[in-house]
């Protein structure tokens, strides 16, 4: 007791404990290994080892057509797949010089923001759960579930959405989307308020996060951090604001910033970003160009198979005036809706279903976009496009050699630089802080390892 701390150490030299945290650890959101050197409970050294979920995303993309890469992008940041979808699509569109329709841009913004909220919800919820606040987790997951319901209504799936298409989307928003979305946003806000009550002013929670996992502005920039983690340090950088894409420049939102770059700041940044995202989505809903959505078709509506049969028998008279009733999976591809969201580029966008079923031009166009070796063939060149993913700047770099397969697809995942700098946020803190710090970064192995 009387010994000085330094003397204690000399007198009772103990070996530091080398401990693996991950790859298969309850708090590892994906698979990653943090090799920690513990002095007591204190982490003196942490080294991050990634690659446990490496599945050759980029090479897989390069082995299929441009469209076939879209399902792969779902599995990058699988918590916010829509943003990945759109990021990739916009990159290819940039490569091809396609301009999407106004409505398409708005829909993309809405869906991106919903996805972002899902992502932040998951991140905060998981962090809270790992701190033992299971109830918060479930409340937030409940909110995410509401949003996913919305996503399902639009895309036909909850996670593996495959919604983006080069030059558009796989379908327009369904009817009644706006009303439902607003209702769900209201419910999400309720949950956020509850979570706020449970956590934000709770000292146990605040103490766990405050002053923990600090990264300085300079370090964050030097490591190439982006997204909430960078903003928590007070650096004002958001792709949506600083290199506006889609229609973000027409929408009003704030970029929440932190000051110290600790876990608490990241929590606050995420919580406020959710609110901002909901705001953006609501504004976009407000401004969404309506167009021919509710056009009353004079012609009668016929079943898809009837149209196919008629066209096959050459009885095409009047087919262009009829509305085709599609398989429910294809809702939103009816001609009236499709025109609103699909870019007018027949070399990239599948024709509307009525054209595929009902006239030879559409059918041939459809075929040529699907057949191996034809498909979408952007001109030779390269394009990089970055969107604001939930975790930061998500960039797609696509190189085309003029064929129907990308020559190179490279992803700049926001998590990758974060992982490079993670050790800075872990070292010097306690073993128990590994989990909240790691959680606050929201590492997604899918996009990290690709």
């Amino acid at each position: 007791m009387a010994l000085e701390a330094s003397e204690q150490k000399e007198a009772l030299t103990s070996r530091n404990l080398l401990l693996n945290v991950g790859p298969s650890h309850p708090a590892m959101h994906g698979v990653i290994r943090i090799l920690t050197e513990l002095e007591g409970e204190t982490v003196v050294k942490a080294s991050i080892e990634i690659g446990y979920l490496h599945r050759g995303f980029e090479k897989s993309c390069e082995n299929g057509s441009y469209t076939q890469a879209i399902p792969y992008t779902d599995r990058l940041n699988y918590v916010s797949p829509l943003i990945n979808n759109f990021g990739y699509c916009i990159a290819v569109e940039k490569l091809m010089g396609i301009e999407t329709t106004e409505r398409c841009k708005f829909v993309r913004v809405i869906m991106s923001e919903i996805s972002r909220v899902c992502d932040h919800l998951t991140c905060v919820a998981a962090s809270a759960m790992e701190l033992g606040a299971m109830t918060v987790f479930l409340y937030m997951i409940k909110a995410r579930e509401y949003l996913w319901e919305l996503v399902e209504d639009v895309t036909g799936a909850r996670l593996t959405i495959s919604y983006g298409r080069i030059g558009g989307m796989s379908g327009d928003l369904p009817e009644g989307f706006e009303v439902k979305a607003r209702e769900i946003f209201r419910r999400v806000r309720e949950v956020l308020a509850e979570v706020d009550k449970l956590l934000t002013r709770n000292r146990i929670f605040v103490d766990r996060l405050k002053g923990v996992g600090i990264i300085s502005k300079e370090d964050a920039v030097a490591y190439g951090f982006t997204g909430p983690v960078l903003r928590s340090t007070g650096v004002d950088y958001d792709v949506r604001k600083h290199q506006p894409y889609l229609v973000y420049d027409q929408l009003d939102f704030e970029v929440p910033l932190g000051t110290t770059g600790d876990n608490l700041d990241r929590y606050h940044v995420r919580m406020q970003e959710m609110e901002q995202s909901l705001r953006v989505a609501e504004q976009a809903l407000e401004k969404l160009p309506k167009g021919a959505l509710n056009v009353n078709h004079e012609g009668k509506e016929i079943e898809a198979h009837e149209m196919v049969d008629r066209a096959k028998m050459g009885l095409t008279r009047g087919i262009r005036e009829t509305l085709v009733q599609l398989s429910p999976n294809l809702e939103g591809l009816e001609n009236s809706m499709y025109d609103q969201i699909a870019a007018k580029e027949k070399r990239a966008v599948l024709p509307a279903k009525r054209d595929t079923y009902g006239n030879i031009e559409g059918l041939m166009n459809h075929f040529m976009l699907i057949i191996d070796g034809h498909g979408i063939c952007p001109p030779k060149g390269e394009a990089y496009f970055a969107v604001e993913g939930a975790n930061g700047e998500l960039g797609f770099y696509v190189v085309s050699d003029g064929s129907d397969r990308p020559y190179r697809v490279r992803v700049r995942p926001p998590c990758f630089p974060l992982m490079a700098g993670l050790h800075k946020m872990l070292e010097g803190y306690m073993m128990a802080d590994v989990v909240p710090t790691f959680g606050s970064i929201n590492m997604i192995a899918g996009e990290l390892d690709r």
């Binding site: 096959k312 028998m313 008279r317 030879i360 041939m364 075929f367 057949i371 191996d372 034809h374």
Partner: protein, 541 residues
Amino acid sequence: MPTLTINQKSITVPDGTTIIQAAEKLDIEIPRYCYHPGLSIAGSCRMCLVEVEKIPKFQPACNTRVSEGMVVHTNTEKVKEAVSGVLEFLLINHPLDCPVCDQAGECYLQEYYMKFGLYDSRMDENKIKRHKAEIIGPHVILDTERCILCSRCVRFVNEVSHSHEIGIFNRGSQSEIRLLPGKILDNNYSGNVVDICPVGALTDRDFRFQCRVWYLSETKSICPGCSRGCNISIHSNRQRPHHAGGRRVMRLKPRFNAEVNHWWICDEGRYGYKFIDDPSRISLARVKEKGEFLVLTLDQVIGRAGEKLREALEKVGRDSVVVVASPRLTNEDLFVIRKFFGEDLGLSQIDFRVPDQNLASGDDFLLRADRNPNSRGAEAVLLDENGFDLTQLLSMENSRKLQLLCLFEQDLTKTLGEAWAKKFLQQFEYVIYVGSNENETSVLSHLTLPSATYAETEGTFTNFEGRVQKINQAVEPLGDSLPTWQIVSKLACALGYRYNYENAEEVFGELAERVVEFQDLAYEKIGDSGVEIPDISKVQV
């Protein structure tokens, strides 16, 4: 030699060149349906319309001859509009058949729609129904709905095959291709109409629904059907093995070679690929024991063959071994046979000439009576020194018992007739058969080694004119089979010789050094269209 400008690019071309040909030289694509370089000009599809300065009307590029100072535009808005307009006309009565059409994927309607069309359809009338899926000959099926009346096929039967089986009947939008009364499209070149048909009107019955064309990969090769050596592309399906019952080689297409076959190929050659994936393929090596074949590994069987060979050489002598090579083998195969049997083992009884009892006949266009692809090459490689003539041996009533016969790709029962062949084979104590497919001779052999077919190997053939042309590997050798030169090399190794050729190119390199006819040739120089070797007779002097 007029100089003209097409889309701001200048080029000087010989007199009489048409715009379309000049544009081709400049890599400017002008869409066309009726134009085919091997046929007369019809100028009826109107797809190749171009703008020529100082001429008010659109000119069809296929029929307009260039003149000095001509300025042609193929990509102005007006031209694009005209071309897409023509395409629209072509498609208004085109059925929605892409899903069931074999042409989809190599259809010029699709291709040009994507390149030059891309308009929104205005057609809202009923389409004209016509005859569908009519079998018009042993190889060809006709769908008149899909026909765009480019008349290529009609011109082909009139101008190339001179068989005059089909024509265009009726007038206006009722026009359609029909067989002439009392005729069917049955000539030895009928398959070519499928190739030249730019759409899916004429499709191949043999290929029908077997595989989608976009799954196919192309390999440049030479038709082994006769000594003409027509240039072909082997279309094989390597991506989706579940199609066509696992058949790998799906079809053959002629490949342009101005010196040999132009754009054409005869049906006999075109459909002569079936043996490659035939159930009769010998895929495993085997040895006959007590009258039953026993399948062993290739190395075991080659070891056994080596033993037998050594036994024959050591116990009885060189005169007891006869090697019958085949003019179906590549130059490389033949060279390795010559090198091993002739030079290393010092055998003199090597030949490839087996008199054919039922000699086929050729025609005056492409098909040659000699159905072997490499007779000329075999002569050059095998016949240059020893005076052995197999026919003598065959005709001789042999009193001495011969020890070993090594047969390469020779179905003696077929060429000699069953009785004669059996009699001949019985003279030998042991018969080794190296071949790709089962036949009556292989069944009679004591030891069988599986060799790869021409689609599974690479090498060279020498055609009857002395043109050395290259074949390339399209698919992997089936089962344990190997190219013949590899089998012989392995056999040589089994007897203690060092044969370590990496590939056919190495064999050819040595062949070019050693065989006078091939001197100065290099494998990579052969290229896609082959090289004619100087007259062999002259070289021999």
